[in-house]
Every structure is written in C-alpha cells, then in structure tokens.
C-alpha cells in the first residue's frame, strides 16, 4: 500500500521520497514497537527528521497544485485502505463478539463511542513510537506515566480479572473499566470471550497518544469514557478534513498547523476532557442494582476555588484547570517539535501513583511523583490548639499564645488538616485502594515514644485506628469490598475524604511526662501510600516489597511542662485568622455549630473587615436553623461587600424563609449572573420558580443545572414534574427514570451499619466528632490499635 502511494507521489513530481523513507522507518519502528514497547525501559524512537519551525506569526506554507493533488490522492488512498481494513477486521471479529447489551451497544457498560460503522481495528491507531519520532520528550514521559500503563499493571489487572472471572458477568462487563483503561481493546472488539484480537499490539500501551488525540467530541460529563473517538488521524487536508492513519513526516512538518488541527482540539485543554475518565459511575447494567456515583474528581474541581464556577467556596484562587497542576510546562530535555519556547506540557501527569513507577522501576517518574506530592503547598498541617482534660478553654492558636502545662497533665491536641491547594478531595477517586492518613507522635525529651497513632504494623498494615482519609465501600451483606469489586458495592460505611478547600479537625489525647522539667515533641504528618497493604497483598500475596510511603506535609511543636512562650511561625504556617477559619470550617463539617461560630468569631476579631468571616457565621447559623442571627451576620457581610455572591446566595435562602420571593429571586438571579455555572444558585433559583409555578423559568434553570451536573437529583425530580406539566411526556419519563435510578437506596445505610457493628475499631472513625487516644478510661474507652 505504502509502495503504491509512494509511486503515485513520485509520479506527481513531488519531493516526498525522503519522507517515504522516513515513513517506512516509522512503520518499521511501529512493528518493532509492538515487540518492545512493553519493556520497562523502551528504546528511544528513531531520531527525528530535520525540521526548522516556521517563524512566529508566519502564514502557513502554500502548496502548489501538484502538491495539493498528491495530498488529495494520499487521502483518498488512505480512506480506501482504512475502509477495507476496517471492513475485513469486522468480518473477522464481529461474528464471535458477545453483544451482551445488544448490537447497538457494543461498548456498554462503558460510554465510549466511535466514528463510523463497526469496530475500529487496532492497527488504525498510529503507535506511540511513530508520534515519538518528533515528540521525543512527550514519548519518554508518557512511557513512564500512568496513562501508558493504564491497562497492563498488576494493580489494575487484579481488579479487572476478578470481574472477567465472575461467573455471572465475565469479560463483556469489563468494557466498563477498559473503556478508559484500554480503549483500543474495547473499540477493537478484544473484550469478548474467545477473542480473535492480537492483544500484544495495544495492551502494553494503555492510553496511547492517538487515543486522547483522536477524540473528536465530548458527549457529556457523565464519565465512563463519555467521548467519541474519531478515526485516528495526524493531519487534515486543506479543507480541514481528516486524513486517516500515518503520513510521511514531511507532510506534517510542511503543515504543522494542519497537524495541530487534527490532534490538538481545544477541549484537550479543558477539565471536561479529563472528566471523561476521571469521573466514573457504576451503572445498573454493571451491578444489577442501581446507579452509584463512584468518583468524580471533575465535579470536585468544579466545586473548588480553582474552577471559579462556585461562589460558595471558603477561599478564592486563580483559575486553574486539571492540566494546570498535572501537565505543567517544563523545559524539555529531549527534542520535541511540540515544544514552545523550549518548554513542553508534561505528559507525566504527575499525581499520587507511586506504585506503578515503583513496580516498573521508573525511577525518574517515581522521584518526580514524590516531589510533586511534597510540593505545591497542597496541604496545611496545623497543631492548632490544646485543651486540658479539666477545662473547656481552648489554648489557641498554638505558637501565638502563652500557656502552662503541668506534669502528668492530660491534654487533647487539636490538629487541623487543611486541603489547601488540591483542586479535588483528599484523597480523590479510588479511596478504597489509596491510603492517606495522619501519623501523630508524641515523644519525650529522650526521644521515647509516649503516643503514636497512624503507625504501620510489622506486616505493613496501617494502625486500624489511624485517622485516614479513606472510605469503606460495603456489599449488601455489610462486607468491606476489599478487592475493588465495584459491582458489589451497595453503600459506603464511612467516607473521611476532605473536599477541596475544606479542613478537618483530628483530636488526639495524651499525657504529659511526670518530670517537672519534661517536654514533649508533638508531630503530625499526613502520609500517603499507593496502595493499601491488604490490596497489595491481594495482588502479590504477602511476599512483596514495601511500597513507598510519602510524607506529604507535617508540623512539629515542642510543648514543655511549665511555661510555654509564643514562638515565630514557620514559613508554611497559615496566618492566625486563617487558622481560626479552618478550625471553624472543620467544626462546621463535624456538626459542632456553637464551637464553629466561636471560631469564625475569632476570625472577625482578627479581620473585622473580612466579609467572608460574617458569611461563615451566617451559613453556620442557617445550618443550625438560627435564622435571625444568621440574617444579622449576612447583612453585615453584604454591608462590607455588597457584591459578595456568596453572601447574596445565603441572603436568598434567608429571604425565602421570610417569604420575600422577589428578594429571593433577585438574590439567586444575581448569583447566577455572576456565576453562571453555580449549580447551587441554579438549583435554588429553579426551586423558587417552581414554587411560583413559573414553569418555563424553572425548566430553564434545571436544564442549565443538568448541563453543569448531569446527576443532580433535584433537577431530575423537578424536571420530571415540569416536563409533564408542559406536555413533554417522553422527557418527563426519562427524568423520572433517572431520578429513580440515581436516588440513594433508602435501605443502603443499613449495609454500612452492619459493617460498622462488626468493626468497632473503624466505627469510631465514622463519627465526625471523635478522639484518638491510648489512655485507659474508667468507662473502658477505645482499645489501643496496636
């Protein structure tokens, strides 16, 4: 085929012969790549062809008529070749394919779709080595990154194999997982019993370059790979039409703008693109139960300060996308024609996964991942306060106030962990497998341990009473879903993740030394491990090396028996007003409303012109149902900052309580105007209009809300009624069905309770307001986790 095309081009009098040789080399590399790309350390792609980037702002090269004709012929041949190969491929694989969900849904329970008819042959995807010829930096980073290893790792295979071996389900159901982990396999009909597909071509590369860069549209933000894959193409013609398959490098280098048009859609730079796979649900076709939202880093980002779409965040920040943190531009070490000013957007997608680079020996990726976790001031650890056993008074903020401690005195340490600069929860996504926890130690002046929570036991298991930022999904029998058998999940016994921008208060009780000159060194750390030891044991058995534990953030304070004077803050310490604010946020989330308001009031004392401090008091009082005092606080906030969307939103809620509908509508409308993607304001405005029988206005808000969050239950419920009122019966039925499917099963919490009854060491963690202690109490008290 390539030979024929070569002849055609030569006969057209073009100078693409050199590029044909380059293409042949690339094709050879592609063949070899199928052999070697699985290796931990892949050989580099062939050296890039010579290229001088056009001067900035220079117009695209204009082709001669002969060149245009040659490209048109190339395109025609490429399309014919693709069509023939795709048809032959479908003839081969379709007859034995298990269309479990019907011929129209070959990829269900995944949401991925593909342009054209039938399965897409894996050979249609140019390999990473082809792309890597000119993008050597991207290639070398990608090879060590999670995306290239999305399928092949033991950490994934162990989970998905359980689903494949499940007698009631089988490999067809694994399309749910592989739509994101191995899309070429899904689109290529590999996921069927008695597969006729050569898996060595794509399994080792997981998400290769031409999976992400071949997506042509985002269908929704529903996740589970809700994208449409185009026929892979690395260039478009002069009309913008895609030319399938590989082309000679010269063709790309002559028209880099056409290459960009084919592979660099604007949506690649948006969080919505990441949402396609970093948002997942467990649909009823998978679990025979009902829709369960599995995780959604995208919605967490959308609700964070970094999206600038949510007026209700406690703090503000510059707009930052997923790519802004996980694809930062760095100087490129290898030649890469995609580099701009010598920098390239990282294709390492640094995040939290240390297990994959550890297993494969990708030392550079591992070290950069650890650096990433430790950098960025993502978390703030604050040993904020002490409370003596015989007093209700809080000694706070530590470091700023003097205090005395007596020998053998029992104290509670208040540790506030702030999810300060993560654009999603701590920890995100697969919380049943990842493990972040607080390690809290108290040592005397001789270095002897007085108290230790959050230790690792000799077998590698975490202290079961540690404060961990994990969850416990359970089955309908109340058993922990230890092996990531997600289709058995019916409920969550607890979820101690910390949402973006919020804080958590962790309390530890210990006793000061008896020595009158004694002192203790108190350290609180947040550690992270990828993955939980019991899951690693499930994968490898117990004889595996210890996987890395990364200390993300920590703080140490020394406390003396006797007088303790104020001390200078450390560079990463928050200012005192923010320390109080974080305590207030943590207490609010732990339903300690009175104490929360006291903390926010301390913020007001330190920053009397800070409107949000009053809003924080107001919102806590709204939650506490003390509307009159809430009104006073919100009025004060609005008097300081009349354009505060946050205070205006809460004012809207308070106006509703008073029956001031016009003010209520004005408030929510103002917030919507300022933050068109505020799901809360849209929802409340929709409810207001609904209550006023303003059907079309209510529909407008709920439809807008559904575009922001397709799972919003209020929108489903109200639209099902509103559509019926206005005669849209089909749409009403659809909304009703989605509401019923997505609504939490009222019986589900009992599954979690069954688990907690059987696990008292964890049940304490499910209570928001709890204390960690090893001290014996007359009432019995918690058992030592050791």
């Amino acid at each position: 085929m390539a030979r024929i095309a070569s002849i055609l081009i030569v006969s057209a009098g073009l100078t693409l012969q050199g590029s044909m040789a380059a293409l042949a080399a690339a094709q050879q590399a592609q063949t070899q790549a199928a052999n070697i790309s699985a290796q931990s350390v892949s050989p580099a792609p062939p050296p890039p062809p010579k290229y001088t980037p056009p001067a900035k702002g220079s117009p695209p090269v204009v082709d001669t008529p002969e060149q245009r004709e040659a490209i048109a012929k190339w395109k025609e041949r490429a399309e014919q070749k693709l069509a023939a190969e795709r048809q032959a491929y479908n003839d081969k694989v379709a007859p034995s394919y298990d269309f479990h969900y019907g011929k129209k849904n070959p990829y269900t329970p995944g949401n991925v779709q593909v342009v054209g008819d039938g399965f897409l042959n894996p050979g249609a995807f140019p390999t990473a080595e082809y792309c890597g010829t000119c993008h050597q930096e991207a290639y070398s980073q990608w090879r060590q990154a999670l995306h290239s290893n999305a399928f092949r790792t033991p950490f994934y295979r162990t989970s998905v194999n359980i689903l494949i071996r499940d007698k009631e389900r089988g490999i067809a159901f694994s399309r749910h997982c592989d739509s994101c982990h191995n899309p070429i396999g899904v689109l290529g009909a590999a996921l069927t019993a008695d597969s006729k597909v050569d898996r060595s071509r794509f399994d080792p590369d997981g998400l290769t370059c031409t999976t992400c860069h071949s997506v042509v549209s985002l269908d929704s933000t529903n996740g589970n790979a809700s994208v449409k894959m185009g026929v892979p193409s690395v260039i478009v013609d002069e009309n913008g039409d895609r030319i399938p398959g590989m082309v000679p490098f010269d063709m790309i280098l002559r028209h880099p703008e056409r290459h960009s048009k084919a592979v660099m859609h604007d949506f690649l730079r948006t969080p919505e693109f990441c949402a396609a796979c970093h948002k997942a649900n467990l649909p009823s076709p998978l679990n025979d139960y009902k829709f369960i939202r599995a995780f959604t880093a995208y919605d967490e980002w959308q609700q964070s300060k970094f999206s600038q779409r949510n007026p209700l965040t406690f703090y503000t920040a510059d707009f930052t996308t997923c790519q802004g943190c996980h694809m930062k531009r760095n100087p490129n070490a290898l030649p890469d024609y995609g580099a701009k000013s010598g920098t390239f957007a990282s294709h390492r997608w640094l995040a939290g996964n240390t297990a994959v680079p550890f297993y494969y020996g990708f030392d550079e990726q591992l070290s950069k991942t650890i650096d990433f976790l430790r950098a960025g001031n993502y978390l703030n650890v604050d040993i904020f306060a002490l409370k003596k056993a015989d007093s209700d008074k809080l000694i706070a903020p530590l470091g700023s106030v003097p205090y005395q401690l007596a020998p053998s005195e029992t104290v509670d340490a208040y540790v506030v962990i702030q999810n300060k600069n993560i654009g999603h929860s701590l920890i995100p996504e697969v919380r049943d497998l990842y493990e972040a926890w607080v390690e809290f130690t108290v040592k005397d002046s001789a270095g002897t341990e007085i108290y230790h929570s959050g230790f690792l036991k000799p077998d590698g298991m975490l202290d079961p009473r540690a404060h961990s930022f994990t969850n416990r999904p359970v089955t309908d029998q109340g058993e922990f879903v230890d092996n990531h058998k997600v289709w058995t999940i019916h409920s969550v016994a607890y979820d101690n993740s910390v949402q973006a921008g919020r804080s958590v208060l962790v309390r530890y009780e210990f006793r000061m030394p008896a020595d009158a000159n004694g002192a203790v060194t108190v350290t609180a750390k947040v550690n992270y491990r990828h993955l939980r030891q019991s899951y690693l044991n499930n994968i490898f058995g117990k004889d595996h090396p210890a996987y890395p534990v990364v200390e993300i953030a920590s703080r140490t304070r020394v406390m003396k028996v006797g007088d303790n004077a104020p001390e200078s803050p450390e560079p990463n310490d928050n200012q005192d007003w923010m320390r109080w604010n974080n305590l207030g946020i943590a207490l609010l989330d732990q339903f300690q409303y009175k104490e929360s308001i006291q903390a926010f009031t301390e913020v007001i004392k330190l920053r009397p012109t800070y409107a949000d401090a009053y809003t924080n008091v107001g919102l806590t009082e709204i939650v506490w149902e003390k509307y009159d005092s809430a009104r006073t606080a919100i009025r004060k906030a609005l008097s300081i900052d009349p354009n505060s969307a946050r205070a205006t939103y809460y004012d809207g809620l308070l106006q509703r309580r008073l029956g001031n509908t016009e003010r209520e509508i004005a408030d929510f409308s103002k917030v919507v105007e300022m933050f068109p993607q505020s799901r809360d304001a849209r929802r409340e405005l929709g409810i207001t209009y609904y209550q006023q029988n303003s059907n079309s206005a209510a529909v407008e808000q709920f439809e807008a809300l559904q575009k922001i969050d397709p799972d919003d239950l209020t929108a489903h419920y109200n639209l099902s009624i509103l559509y019926r009122r206005i005669g849209k019966l089909k749409e009403a039925a659809e909304q009703q069905a989605m509401f019923v499917d997505k609504k939490v099963d009222p019986g589900a919490p009992t599954y979690g309770l069954n688990f907690l009854r059987l696990h008292p060491e964890i049940s304490t963690e499910s209570i928001p307001w709890h204390i960690h202690s090893d001290l014996e109490r007359s009432s019995g008290g918690p058992q030592n986790g050791k």
Binding site: Q32, N35, Q39, S40, R157, S200
Partner: protein, 176 residues
C-alpha cells in the same frame, strides 16, 4: 515494509479460508476447547510467532501443570510458543528450581509478575529458543518460544527477547 504488509494480508486471506472451511465442515468440539488458553489467545500467539498458529491446551487436574502450546508451521520451519502454569506450595523455590535449566545467561526480568527471569534455551539441533520462568503469587509459569530453523529471521535473538516479554505480560496479566 510493504512486503510485510502483503505477507500479513496473505495470512489474513489464509485465515479466512480456514474460517470458511470451518463454516462448511465444522470442527470437533474437543478441538474448539483445545484453543481456549486462559493466558494468551491464539491470535496474539500467532502474532508473536509471525504467522497463523494453532493452539492446544492440556487442561490439568487439580495440582498438576496446565500446558498451552501454539504451533506455527511453515514450509521449512515450525515455531512454537509453550506456556505452562502450575500451583506451587513454595512458589519462589519452584521458580528457582525451574530456572536451573536456564544456565548462566539467565537474567532477572523486572515487572513481570512477582518475579521472573529469562534465558536463551537454544537447542543444539534446532533453532533459537527463549525461555522465561516466573510467578504470580503461588502460580508458577514458564514460557518458551522456539523455532526449528537455525537462522530464523522471524525469531532472531533480539526479537525473541522482546516477544517473550510481550507473551509474559499477557500470561502474567491474566494470572493476576
């Protein structure tokens, strides 16, 4: 490259004739089961061997070794890919014992199962051969790729090393 593509097309055409034959004449049920290797499919094995291979599985009773053998027969060459899997009480020791046959050139292989090593297993009379011994938890496996042709351009020493790695990823991945 073009000739390689043509060759693949030829194989494709060949396999279509085989499929056609199957449609007309059917095949014994036992032979259907024989191709059903749990750890690597026939198409993947064919790709690694460089041509259409026929698979056969000897399913083991409990405690015994299961063997998948894929054979690709050419005009002057027979290439095989053989996979064995067994459950071992002391899997690490069993890997060591099986590795005894490897000789001095064995090398540990990273990121295959819990542990793995590979070595050449050339038969003096035959052609090149590569062997891999590894385990996933207590499942010990071996993979052997061999050719009867002394200088087999489809299975050179370098390509054998790469191919056995790909085979091992399939086998170990399915054993996890």
């Amino acid at each position: 490259m073009a000739s390689k593509a043509n060759r693949n097309q030829w194989y494709s055409r060949g396999s279509r004739w085989v499929q056609l034959g199957i449609c007309f004449f059917g095949i014994p049920a036992g032979a259907m089961a024989a191709n059903n290797c749990a750890w690597i499919n026939e198409t993947t094995a064919s790709s690694l061997l460089g041509g259409d291979a026929v698979g056969q599985v000897s399913a083991a009773d409990a405690g015994q070794t299961t063997v998948c053998t894929f054979t690709q027969t050419g005009t002057d060459v027979v290439r095989t890919l053989r996979v064995t899997v067994e459950i071992a009480a002391d899997p690490h020791a069993r890997v060591g014992a099986l590795a005894q046959s490897c000789g001095a050139d064995s090398a540990p292989l990273k990121a295959i199962g819990n542990e793995a090593l590979t070595c050449s297993a050339d038969d003096r009379k035959g052609g090149p051969s590569e062997r891999l011994v590894g385990r996933v938890r207590d499942q010990v496996f071996t993979i052997t790729i061999a050719s009867t042709l002394k200088k087999d351009s489809a299975l050179t020493r370098d390509s054998l090393h790469a191919k056995i790695y790909l085979a091992a990823e399939q086998v170990a991945g399915n054993l996890f």
